[in-house]
C-alpha cells in the first residue's frame, strides 16, 4: 500500500510539469497547445538517448531545449504563417513523430540497462532513503513552479498574461503578441520536455507512443487542481497543477488497485471527465435557461 502511494506521489510530481505547461499555454495564454503529446515523447527520447550515451545531467537541459524548439515551431506556424493555433499544434505533433524516432536512433523504443540516471546517482547520495525518487521529482517540479510564478510577475511575464487575457489591449499597447506567444509556447513546451525527460530517466525507457493522451491527462490534472485550490493568482495556479497531478495519480492508483473501473477504460474516463469539466459553464447556463423558461411558463399559466 505504501508502495502504491509512493508511486502515485512520484508520478504525480513528474507529470505535474505537463499540467504546469498547460497552465501556461491553456490558462495563461488561452491557446490549446496540441504539441504536448509529441513534445513529451521528444523530451523522453532525447533524455533517454543522452543518458544511454552517458550524459544523464546534460540530458535534462537538452530535453528542455528540444521541447522549446517544438514550441517554437508551433508558435511560428500560428503567429507568422497564419495557421489556426490548434492545427499548428497538431501539425507539429505529427512531424514530431518522425523526429522522435530519429532521436531514438530510428527505433520505436529505447531502454536503459546499467547506465546511471539522475535517479540512480541521487540514490547513491543516500538522501531520502526509499523516498529518493519522490524527493528528486518533487524538488524539480517545485523549483520549476517557483521559477514560473516569479517569471509571470516580470515585465515579460505580465505581457504574456495580458496577451492571453485581452488581445485588444495588447494590440493597442507596446506588447508584440508574436513575441509573447512565441516565448510562452517555448517555455510551456520546455516544461513538457522536462516532464518527459524526468519520466524517461525514472522509468529507464522511452516509447514512441508514450505521450498519447498526455495533453488530456494534463488538462484533467489542471482542472482537478483548480477545483480544489480555486483560480486566481499565479501562485495558486502553480499549487493547483501540482496538487491536481498528484491527486490524479492517486485516483489512477486506486482504480488500478481496486479495479472499480477496468484499467483499459481509464483513458475514456479521463476524456469524459475533462470534457465535462470544460463544458461545465455551458451546461450551467443551459440549465439556468431551462429553469427560467420553466418558471416563466408556470407563472404565465398561473396568471391566466
Amino acid at each position: 500500500m505504501l508502495y502504491v502511494a509512493q508511486t502515485a506521489l512520484e508520478l504525480g510530481f513528474q507529470y505535474a510539469l505537463v499540467a504546469m505547461a498547460l497552465f501556461l499555454s491553456y490558462r495563461v495564454l488561452d491557446i490549446a497547445d496540441m504539441t504536448t503529446d509529441g513534445c513529451f515523447v521528444l523530451g523522453c527520447a532525447v533524455s533517454v538517448t543522452l543518458t544511454a550515451a552517458g550524459h544523464p545531467f546534460l540530458a535534462i537541459p537538452a530535453a528542455m531545449l528540444a521541447g522549446a524548439c517544438a514550441g517554437f515551431v508551433t508558435a511560428f506556424l500560428q503567429t507568422k504563417l497564419g495557421v489556426p493555433s490548434i492545427l499548428a499544434g497538431i501539425i507539429t505533433n505529427t512531424g514530431l513523430y518522425t523526429i522522435n524516432l530519429m532521436a531514438m536512433g530510428w527505433k520505436a523504443n529505447q531502454s536503459l540497462l546499467k547506465q546511471d540516471t539522475i535517479f540512480t546517482l541521487f540514490r547513491s547520495t543516500g538522501i531520502g532513503g526509499d523516498w529518493y525518487a519522490i524527493i528528486l521529482s518533487g524538488g524539480i517540479t517545485v523549483l520549476m513552479g517557483v521559477l514560473l510564478v516569479l517569471f509571470l510577475n516580470t515585465r515579460l511575464g505580465l505581457s504574456i498574461r495580458a496577451t492571453g487575457d485581452n488581445r485588444d489591449m495588447v494590440r493597442a499597447s507596446s506588447i508584440n503578441p508574436t513575441f509573447t506567444i512565441t516565448t510562452g509556447l517555448c517555455l510551456a513546451n520546455a516544461l513538457t520536455g522536462l516532464s518527459g525527460a524526468v519520466v524517461g530517466q525514472a522509468q529507464k525507457t522511452a516509447d514512441i507512443n508514450g505521450g498519447t493522451g498526455i495533453v488530456v491527462i494534463g488538462l484533467a490534472c489542471l482542472i482537478i487542481g483548480e477545483t480544489i485550490v480555486g483560480r486566481g493568482a499565479m501562485f495558486r495556479g502553480a499549487i493547483a497543477v501540482i496538487l491536481g497531478s498528484i491527486l490524479y495519480r492517486f485516483i489512477y492508483a486506486i482504480v488500478l488497485y481496486t479495479k472499480v473501473v477496468p484499467v483499459d477504460c481509464l483513458k475514456l474516463v479521463t476524456a469524459i471527465v475533462v470534457a465535462l469539466a470544460i463544458a461545465t459553464p455551458a451546461l450551467k447556463s443551459w440549465a439556468a435557461l431551462q429553469n427560467r423558461k420553466r418558471r416563466a411558463m408556470a407563472e404565465r399559466k398561473g396568471a391566466r
Binding site: 510577475n153 516580470t154 515585465r155 485588444d168 503578441p177
Partner: protein, 266 residues
C-alpha cells in the same frame, strides 16, 4: 508634433465593398495641441486613429510623430509614444489581472529600458501606483490586489486613462472614450482627461459626437467628412463660436449638412 501628409486608404479595393476611408488627408498638430474631432458617420475619424496607431499601413502618404517617420512602423512599436483609449471600456485593461498588475504592465512597458524583460515592480513603483490611483478619487487605491474585471465601466476607463498617461505619451488618442459611460461617470472621466492633459501638456486628439464638447474642450476643433478634414478652427475664430456657427461653416465647406445620428439625437 504629429503630421499626417496626404494620407489615403482604400479598403476592399475592386470589390462592391470598396471604401475610400481616407482621402488625401493632411493634418498638422503642434506640441500641446488638444484637438476635438467631429464628423458624419463613416467620415473616417476612427480610421484616421487606426492609421496613426499603426493598425494598418496607408496606401499613400506618410505620418511623422515628433519628427520621426512612423508610417511603416508596426503598431506595437509606436505605442510606447502613443496613448490610446477606445469607446469600449473593456478594451483597455486585462480583466483577470489585478489593478496593480495592469498598472505595472503599462508602467514597465513605457518606462525605462525596453529590453528589461525581467524587470519587476518595486515597492517604490507600487507607492507611485497607489498615489496615482488616489487621484482618481474612486477608492481604487485600496483595491489594488483585485482583478480589473470587478470594476465598473467608468472605473475601468479611468484606469485605462491613468495607464495611458502614467508615463506621458507624445500623443494621446481618445476615441469617444466617454460615450459608453453613464452621464455622471462620463463627466468625471472627462474632467480627469482635461486635468491630466493640462498637467502634462499632452498633445491630444479626441473624437466626440458632442458638438458643445467639440467647441469647449481643447484649443482646436476639426470636422471630418468623406475621409478628409473639411474644417479646422482655432484661436480667435474659435472663441465665441456657437454650435450653429460650426454647423453652418460645415455646410458651406462640404455642400451638405452634417449627417451623424448620434449628434442629431444628442
Amino acid at each position: 508634433m504629429l503630421e499626417l501628409n496626404n494620407l489615403s486608404m482604400t479598403f476592399n479595393p475592386g470589390t462592391v465593398n470598396e471604401k475610400k476611408a481616407l482621402n488625401h488627408l493632411s493634418l498638422k498638430l503642434e506640441a500641446g495641441d488638444f484637438a476635438a474631432i467631429v464628423g458624419s458617420n463613416g467620415a473616417g475619424k476612427s480610421t484616421m486613429f487606426n492609421a496613426i496607431a499603426g493598425d494598418f499601413f496607408p496606401d499613400e502618404g506618410y505620418i511623422t510623430l515628433d519628427g520621426k517617420d512612423i508610417t511603416y512602423l508596426p503598431g506595437y512599436r509606436r505605442s510606447r509614444e502613443l496613448g490610446r483609449l477606445f469607446q469600449d471600456p473593456m478594451r483597455g485593461t486585462a480583466p483577470h489581472m489585478t489593478i496593480e498588475e495592469n498598472m505595472a504592465l503599462a508602467y514597465l512597458r513605457a518606462g525605462r529600458s525596453q529590453r528589461a524583460y525581467f524587470s519587476r515592480v518595486s515597492r517604490k513603483d507600487k507607492e507611485l501606483f497607489r498615489e496615482q490611483l488616489s487621484r482618481l478619487d474612486m477608492g481604487l487605491e485600496d483595491r489594488m490586489k483585485q482583478p480589473v474585471g470587478l470594476l465598473s465601466g467608468g472605473q475601468r476607463q479611468a484606469l485605462t486613462l491613468l495607464m495611458a498617461t502614467m508615463v506621458p505619451p507624445k500623443l494621446l488618442l481618445l476615441d469617444e472614450h466617454t460615450a459608453a459611460l453613464d452621464p455622471a461617470t462620463a463627466e468625471k472621466v472627462l474632467r480627469l482627461t482635461r486635468e491630466i492633459v493640462e498637467r502634462d501638456h499632452l498633445t491630444c486628439l479626441m473624437i466626440t459626437h458632442n458638438m458643445h464638447q467639440a467647441l469647449e474642450l481643447g484649443n482646436r476643433t476639426l470636422m471630418m467628412d468623406s475621409g478628409r478634414i473639411v474644417l479646422d478652427v482655432k484661436g480667435e475664430e474659435r472663441r465665441g463660436m456657437t454650435v450653429d456657427d460650426l454647423l453652418r461653416r460645415f455646410r458651406e465647406n462640404v455642400g451638405k449638412g452634417l449627417d451623424n445620428d448620434r449628434i442629431l439625437l444628442s
